[in-house]
């Protein structure tokens, strides 16, 4: 584990991950399984952000579904617009609106005809919202359980809000996308391309998170987590420091949501509410929130276990999930990522204490 914190180790780690994601996985996995992996990679991207905000910054972000959902709906709106334009020419109404009897395109849909606008919105809108929310919350020194409850309530409220929006597909959400920036989504080659986009995005996001962790900012973030008052008394505005990590986590979640939509082919309020938000946290907790790779491993493991188990025993997954969570919290608070460090530390524990004295 120590090796991976050196410069050579970092490159080795990233190279190995790239080799597995870009070389091995497409070789050994069927198209269907590769699509599933792409979906899991989207969860992993969200997890990297949670690892930053929660693991390093101490903010228990129980509502990342909000930002994931924003990115997903923004992308879905563009895909629906592009499909409608392809079918019925400029100004055509997306198919689900026709079915619901909406003849005129709502004004706020119009800009999403533009791919550039859509991508800018995916990158800026959720991040901007996180900055505003972060300032409102952290300047008032809302933290700990209060912050967690607040962010979870937000995810719940956001899902309920979306259910009521007929022009966003209501309860059913948005689905049946045909084209992704001109590429036919039914074509297996294009599905593989989406997988590569997800894998590439994950590596980029991890690289950004790594830089944030290793920078002076990263040290400061840990300092805020461990002693917010002390940081304030050293002359820093702790709220600003937290907002940066919170906004980065929101950005990552939004990117993940945007890739999730063409990969999975549907986004609905059920994929972004309280339960999916808790699933995000669960993976991070199980993988190890404070490390860089831990949240990724945890998110992939939880998503994989969920799929595998619910294929075999549809009703057993919820129980297995609960057991897994309890086991990790009770026995392995540092998550899967801490297994190596734990194994190394056990025999030499007494000497470490002596050295400290």
């Amino acid at each position: 584990m120590k090796f991976f914190s050196t410069r050579a180790g970092t490159w080795t780690g990233f190279a190995a991950a790239a080799l597995v994601l870009f070389g091995l996985a497409p070789l050994v996995l069927s198209g269907f399984r590769l699509g599933l992996l792409a979906q899991f990679l989207c969860y992993a991207i969200v997890a990297v952000g949670i690892g930053l905000a929660w693991g390093r910054g101490g903010m228990l972000t129980l509502g990342q579904g909000v930002f994931f959902g924003m990115g997903a709906y923004l992308m879905a709106m563009h895909l629906k617009m592009a499909d409608a334009e392809f079918r019925g020419g400029p100004g055509a109404v997306p198919d689900f609106m026709e079915l619901a009897g909406i003849r005129e395109l709502p004004g706020y849909w119009v800009p999403f005809t533009s791919p550039v606008f859509t991508i800018a919105a995916i990158l800026l809108l959720p991040t901007g919202f996180a900055v505003l929310l972060g300032f409102a919350v952290f300047k008032r020194r809302v933290k700990g359980a209060y912050f967690a409850i607040l962010s979870q309530a937000l995810a719940g409220a956001f899902a309920i809000l979306l259910i009521g929006q007929q022009t966003l597909g209501g309860f059913n959400g948005l689905s049946r996308f045909r084209y992704f920036f001109g590429f036919n989504l039914a074509d297996p080659v294009n599905q593989q391309m989406l997988y590569f986009i997800a894998a590439g995005a994950l590596l980029v996001v991890m690289a950004v998170a790594l830089q944030l962790r290793r920078s002076r900012y990263g040290e400061l973030l840990v300092a805020v987590r461990d002693g917010e008052e002390r940081v304030r008394f050293l002359g820093y505005d702790a709220a600003n420091i937290k907002v940066v990590a919170y906004a980065a986590a929101a950005l990552f979640a939004s990117i993940a949501g945007a890739i999730f939509v063409p990969v999975v082919g549907i986004i609905s309020p059920a994929s972004i509410g309280i339960i999916p938000s808790i699933m995000f946290i669960l993976g991070v907790a199980i993988g190890g929130r404070a490390s860089l790779a831990g949240p990724v491993i945890g998110a992939l493991a939880v998503a994989w276990a969920q799929t595998a188990l619910s294929e075999q025993f549809p009703s057993a997954w919820t129980y297995a999930q609960g057991l897994l969570f309890i086991a990790v919290i009770a026995l392995l608070p540092g998550g899967i990522a801490s297994v190596g460090a734990l194994a190394r530390r056990l025999p030499s524990k007494p000497t470490a204490v002596e050295a400290a004295a």
């Binding site: 830089q211 944030l212 290793r214 920078s215 002076r216 900012y217 040290e219 400061l220 840990v222 300092a223 461990d226 002693g227 008052e229 002390r230 940081v231 304030r232 008394f233 050293l234 002359g235 820093y236 505005d237 702790a238 470490a352 204490v353 050295a355 400290a356 004295a357």
Partner: protein, 253 residues
């Protein structure tokens, strides 16, 4: 000697209970100024007020600027540093990281987002000064109790604080560590104002340049060690008979 901090008529009210009741205090550069008094005298509350943690009426002026109503981190930026009764350092970060953070309150966002190439000079120098020169890469969490307190003082030094408010800096220290701390305080007070909230009478006698005695939220007496210990009112409320301070020391040791 020049005045670094002037407090006038500080009053702190907690829901009708007056914890600090009209205190005047001047802290001069070059002095180690002890604030003593029985439990509940308002010493720590006074420090809380000056540093922006507790709301108060009255005025605190540093370099001609009124500090009342400013936020905690703005007051800290103006060169007022404090420590806490229990040493508060970032336990999962190393000594060097702790000091580097403390030295960096003025850093630009751009430099924050980059990796630290090497330690700033004043961090290295301060590490030597507080006796942690060999502990740069040691996590602060496993430092000995006294070392944590030195580290916390060091964090104020690298942050360029010129008014230091130290809350029981020798609590839990052994005899040698107290001596070292006392000398350190005088060393750093050469061009700064240092205020020390303390219970330990021997330590106060050995290292105080000036003493202010607080009782029930008000200043009872102020002056040199001899003046204060000779004051009958002080003897009555706090110092008691000549033997009692030693008993107090034994109890806190």
């Amino acid at each position: 000697m020049s005045t670094a901090l002037t407090c006038k008529d500080i009053r702190v009210d907690f829901d009708g209970f007056t914890a600090v009741d009209g205190v005047d205090l001047e802290l001069d550069r070059g002095e180690v100024h002890f604030l003593i008094g029985p439990n509940g005298a308002g010493k720590t509350t006074l420090v809380d007020a000056i540093t922006g943690l507790a709301k108060y009426t009255g005025s605190v002026v540093k370099d001609g600027e009124e500090l009342r109503g400013k936020k905690v981190h703005h007051i800290a930026r103006r060169g007022i540093g404090r420590t806490f009764q229990t040493a508060t350092v970032f336990e999962s970060l190393t000594v060097a990281q702790n000091l580097d953070i403390a030295a960096g309150a003025g850093r630009s966002p751009w430099s924050l987002l980059r990796r630290r190439k090497h330690l700033p000079e004043n961090v290295v120098a301060t590490m030597e000064r507080i006796g942690l020169g060999d502990a740069a890469e040691t996590p602060a969490g496993i430092l000995a109790h006294g070392q944590k307190q030195w580290l916390e003082i060091g964090m104020l030094l690298v942050g360029d604080a010129d008014v230091l408010l130290l809350d029981e800096p020798i609590a839990g220290m052994g005899h040698d560590e107290r001596e070292t701390t006392g000398r350190l305080l005088h060393d750093i007070a050469a061009d700064r104002a240092v205020a020390v909230v303390e219970h330990d009478m021997d330590f106060m006698r050995a290292f105080a340049s000036r003493v202010t005695v607080l009782h029930a939220g008000a200043v009872l007496a102020s002056g040199s060690v001899d003046e204060v210990s000779g004051d009958p009112r002080v003897q009555e409320v706090y110092l008691g008979t000549a033997h009692e301070p030693e008993a107090l020391d034994a109890a806190t040791a």
